[in-house]
């Protein structure tokens, strides 16, 4: 909401017991129509639970909305494009208005794309909007998934919705790649050539998959119509179905919220669908639509007429897929080839192509899909979570996420290794060698660094709690020492900084004589306990109530005691609260205790 005014005056109040007002003229006119509908559909009963449904407010909750709205823009602009696009690989001679390609033989798909770009009024705008919205769609889904990941919104009961989201992300990436392949220009044909080589490299079934996909040898004349069917019917229908399920689950679970005073695991605090979210979310749809349109108007994308028709004997230097394929492209590029192709008997095992495609895709999407279950297994936590984590309070999870992002970024840079080399005037080979090492080393460094940063941020929270907030006021005591005055932070902030649940790092289990534990169960439990030490060892623990009360009382001593604050206590608390495995921690009973209400 807007910035609050400085002066506090009594806010507008409305009294629930006001007698029902007489209907206004608009409602009076609409009454017969709504009655007609309600008699048949029971609308009032359907709408009632949703009408004032409460959603919490936070900027990061808009990322999913951007994904949803850009998908709607894709559907709308896509329908327009299908009116003129001809998904045919039949050869025609171009006779349109673009002089440079006049009389050149090309596929009907490419000719109709040129027609859309030059002869259909608004065609170029819609083509560019469609492409930009696709870029935005995948980008919004990916950043949305990062928000979910770092705040722990994937935890129970939302694991299924997380899986649905991962499914949509995978489909979105392939949907985009197929759309990119449709115009049959030189760039998209090169993308298809790559797809052909990649499919073909699959061990054992590669050739069969290739022949089934292309309807014979590459390129054939079937692949564009087939991709078109998948692009405009199959995948959009599946994505739409998943969107419906995704939103239905959001409604059912109610939205998560960030912790703060008055916000509990048992409630959701925010603004109602009507009127506030109707205006804000509805308005945001138009903003996303408008931004896509302005991008289509002002920013050129995929100027297919520059590339020319597909020709398997030509390629442009600097050929790039759309950004979301960049990480797979990078893996393919930095993979060393020699030695990674096996020639056994009369067979060829093309690991140099298959591995860098299958592994990163599998690791990224597979890793995303199983992560919630891994974390739930480690914590042993079976309770529902509706309050979001602040990323710093889960240092290991946050560090894992940043490590994954770093890995993705290294691969992504690899997807443009030639451009890095030409733009920065460095050796292409050197860039590639650095990335080959970086893809393994950089995530580890990112993990260690992020974890330290998170703990550092926890320390700064701790500092605000125990020593108060800096005021910028420097005081001099009678002995001549200078110290900054600190003020005790509000109870609301104290609560927000201490409300999180702190899972335990566990020592290896010991089995008493006679206890009936199978060796396998014990191994599994030891593994899990090891994982808790990895996850929750060496992170900062929040102060106890006694410590907090003592610290606050100390803060109230006022001037003259300022000197002790800065150094002595800072160090003492910092080191003293590192929670290590096996430390006798009075805060927690068993690891499976459900602490959240």
């Amino acid at each position: 909401m807007a910035k609050p005014a400085e002066t506090v005056v009594v806010g507008p109040t409305s009294d629930a017991s006001t007698p029902q007002k007489e209907l206004g003229p608009v409602f009076r006119r609409a009454a017969p129509v709504t009655k007609w509908l309600d008699d048949r559909l029971g609308l009032a009963g359907l709408v009632r639970p949703l009408y004032r449904k409460v959603f919490p407010d936070h900027f990061s909750f808009l990322l999913g909305e951007i994904a949803l709205y850009s998908f709607i823009v894709l559907l709308l602009s896509g329908v327009f494009l299908t009116i003129w696009f001809k998904p045919s690989m039949a050869e025609v001679e171009y006779q349109g208005t673009y002089q440079l390609l006049h009389g050149i033989p090309m596929s009907d798909a490419y000719a109709s794309t040129l027609n859309l770009s030059f002869d259909i009024r608004g065609g170029l705008l819609l083509r560019q909007m469609h492409h930009w919205a696709a870029m935005l769609f995948v980008a919004a889904m990916l950043t949305h998934s990062l928000r979910i990941f770092f705040t722990g919104a994937f935890r129970k009961p939302r694991e299924i919705n997380w899986l649905i989201g991962v499914g949509m992300l995978v489909m979105g990436v392939f949907e985009g790649f197929m759309g990119y392949s449709l115009p049959d220009d030189l760039l998209s044909g090169t993308g298809l050539r790559f797809m052909d080589g990649a499919i073909r490299a699959t061990p054992v079934i590669g050739t069969w998959a290739e022949f089934f996909f292309f309807g014979g040898e590459f390129p054939g004349d079937l692949v564009v119509p087939r991709l078109y069917m998948v692009h405009i019917l199959l995948l959009p229908a599946l994505i739409l179905g998943l969107i419906a399920a995704h939103l239905a689950l959001v409604v059912y679970h109610k939205h998560t919220q960030f912790p703060g005073p008055g916000k509990t695991e048992a409630n959701v605090v925010g603004f109602p669908v009507f009127p506030v979210y109707a205006a804000k979310a509805g308005g945001f749809f138009f903003i996303v639509f408008g931004v896509c349109t302005l991008m289509g108007a002002l920013m050129q994308i995929n100027p297919v007429w520059v590339f020319g028709p597909y020709n398997p004997g030509e390629v442009t230097a600097g050929s790039q897929p759309d950004w979301y394929m960049g990480f797979a492209e990078g893996a393919i590029r930095i993979m060393p080839g020699p030695g990674w192709e096996w020639h056994i008997g009369h067979t060829t095992w093309s690991w140099n192509v298959f591995l860098p495609l299958a592994l990163p895709m599998g690791l990224l999407f597979g890793g995303m899909a199983i992560y919630p279950f891994i974390e739930a297994w480690v914590t042993g936590d079976k309770s529902e979570h509706h309050l979001l984590d602040r990323p710093r309070n889960k240092p290991t999870r946050t560090a894992l996420g940043v490590a994954a992002m770093t890995w993705y970024a290294v691969l992504w840079i690899g997807g443009g290794n030639d451009l890095v080399a030409t733009q920065f005037h460095v050796s292409l080979n050197a860039v590639t060698y650095v990335l080959r090492v970086g893809v393994f080393v950089a995530p580890v460094l990112a993990f260690l660094l992020t974890k330290r940063i998170c703990v550092g941020l926890q320390r700064s929270d701790q500092d605000r709690l125990l020593h108060g907030a800096e005021t910028g006021v420097i005081e001099r005591d009678p002995s001549g020492k200078y110290a900054e005055r600190h003020r005790t932070i509000s109870v609301g902030e104290q609560y927000a900084l201490t409300q999180q649940k702190e899972p335990l790092a566990l020592n290896p289990a010991t089995v008493d004589d006679g206890e009936d534990v199978s060796a396998r169960a014990l191994r599994l439990e030891q593994l899990r306990r090891g994982a808790t030490r990895f996850y929750f060892g060496n992170v900062l623990r929040k102060p106890t109530r006694a410590e907090l009360e003592e610290a606050i009382a100390h803060q109230h001593h006022g001037v003259g005691h300022g000197d002790g604050h800065g150094d002595g206590h800072g160090d003492g608390h910092g080191a003293g609260h590192e929670l290590t495995a096996g430390e006798d921690n009075p805060h927690f009973g068993t690891e499976s205790e459900h602490l959240a209400p």
């Binding site: 909401m1 609050p4 002066t7 506090v8 005056v9 009594v10 806010g11 030059f118 009024r121 608004g122 705008l125 790559f194 052909d196 080589g197 073909r200 061990p203 069969w208 290739e210 022949f211 089934f212 309807g215 014979g216 590459f218 005073p261 008055g262 695991e265 409630n267 605090v269 925010g270 603004f271 009127p275 506030v276 205006a279 804000k280 308005g283 138009f286 903003i287 349109t293 302005l294 002002l298 398997p312 004997g313 442009t316 230097a317 050929s319 060393p336 030695g339 009369h346 060829t348 093309s350 140099n352 030639d418 590639t432 609560y495 201490t498 907090l548 009075p586 459900h594 602490l595 209400p597």
Partner: protein, 382 residues
């Protein structure tokens, strides 16, 4: 979890005003007080309850509210103007008009249509959001959650009814019905799968030999320029020069067949000083005075290779930067390709034109599982 702060219970539907932050916010603090009392040990600070609502400037200053109203109405009011502007551009703007902004050039119609429509959409959105942010009641409301699991009563009901309906359907007594139904449903997918078996021709050994393992190169086919189809004389090529070429019989093809064959048969011809390059004994007669011919199709994923480094004799694929050494029978020196570029044995015909001595001795293009790669040139072969 105790009964009192039940997230089981339905949230209070329409039970008057559940706004908080003014007057009675006891509902919230009651719940949280309960929780914090229970978990005092784990949570050092009790939930102070929902913070007091602070009015916005537009709540306390009528002028500010009026200003916000004007902003909203202006955003909305501009939309019809822009919508009409769109129609005017659509019908009146010629398609071949361009605006130049320094180095940038934009089609005027695309720009006019996009900017008018885009701003119209944007203004609807901005008006609505401004309305929501500044003028609509901003008292936060609270809903209560209920656990995702269904009520025990419902679960119990379903379990009993499931058992009952299974009995009613005679499934528990006549088990063969259930078992045969499962078998039926499992196999009904078979026709659906079999129906896809004709997605493409089957790449049997024979089929592969005719398609992906074959090119249209054969003995005596002339090497021709890839655009003009002019035959190439050995004397036309200078040392260091690289020529993109095709088999002469490619020009007889068109449409799909043309693309399919070109994707396998495209070649590059390169002339290097025969004394400074390695020519293995087995390939002494594959070249004409340092003129060598290689497949242009990358052995990695099939891009046409085109970047020629004259001094190093390296050929670089622009797609994934695989680098082949043309002075050493096309072996891979860098990048993700694993296999040497296939070399086409060439000679000259009676008129001095370059012709193929035979077809390619190994399949061109990217690897596939059934490819017999034992006869490809490897580093150190002779």
């Amino acid at each position: 979890m105790t009964e009192d702060h039940s997230i089981e219970g339905d949230y209070e539907r329409g039970e008057g005003d559940h706004r908080i932050g003014h007057g009675d916010h006891s509902i919230v603090s009651d719940h949280t007080a309960e929780i914090t009392k229970l978990d005092e040990v784990h949570y050092p600070v009790p939930d102070p309850g929902h913070p007091e609502h602070l009015p916005r400037l537009t709540d306390v200053d009528v002028k500010a509210a009026d200003r916000a109203t004007r902003q909203v109405a202006t955003f909305f009011g501009l939309v019809p103007v822009l919508a009409i502007a769109f129609a005017v551009v659509y019908f009146a703007m010629p398609g071949d008009m361009y605006f130049d902004f320094g180095p940038l050039r934009a089609n005027a119609r695309n720009l006019g249509l996009g900017v008018s429509f885009g701003l119209a959409l944007l203004f609807i959105g901005m008006g609505a959001v401004q309305w929501g942010r500044t003028l609509m009641d901003d008292h936060e409301m609270v809903d209560y959650r209920h656990g995702a699991a269904s009520a025990d009563e419902d679960k119990q009901y379903l379990i009993t009814e499931l058992q009952k309906t299974a009995d009613e359907a005679q499934l528990t007594r006549r088990k063969v019905i259930g078992r045969s139904l499962i078998g039926a449903l499992a196999t009904i997918f078979l026709p659906m799968l079999v129906g896809l078996a004709d997605l493409g021709p089957w790449p049997t050994k024979k089929k592969r030999a005719e398609t992906i393992e074959a090119t249209i190169w054969k003995e005596g086919i002339r090497l021709v320029h890839d655009v003009t189809y002019e035959p190439i004389k050995a004397t036309d090529i200078e040392i260091g020069q690289l020529v993109n070429a095709e088999p002469e019989n490619l020009k007889d093809l068109e449409g799909t067949a043309f693309l399919v064959e070109k994707a396998k048969a495209a070649i590059i011809i390169v002339r290097m000083n025969p004394n400074t390059i390695k020519i293995p004994d087995s390939r002494k007669d594959w070249q004409v005075g340092g003129i060598l011919c290689y497949s242009k199709i990358c052995t990695h994923v099939g891009c046409p290779i085109s970047l020629w480094e004259q001094q190093t004799h390296h050929l670089l694929c622009p797609c994934h930067q695989s680098t082949f050494d043309l002075s050493d029978s096309g072996i891979v020196v860098f990048g993700p390709a694993a296999r040497a570029l296939p070399q086409l044995p060439i000679t000259t015909d009676a008129d001095g034109y370059l012709v193929a001595r035979s077809g390619f001795t190994v399949p061109t293009g990217p690897s596939f599982f059934e490819r017999d790669s034992r006869h490809d040139f490897k580093r150190g072969d002779n």
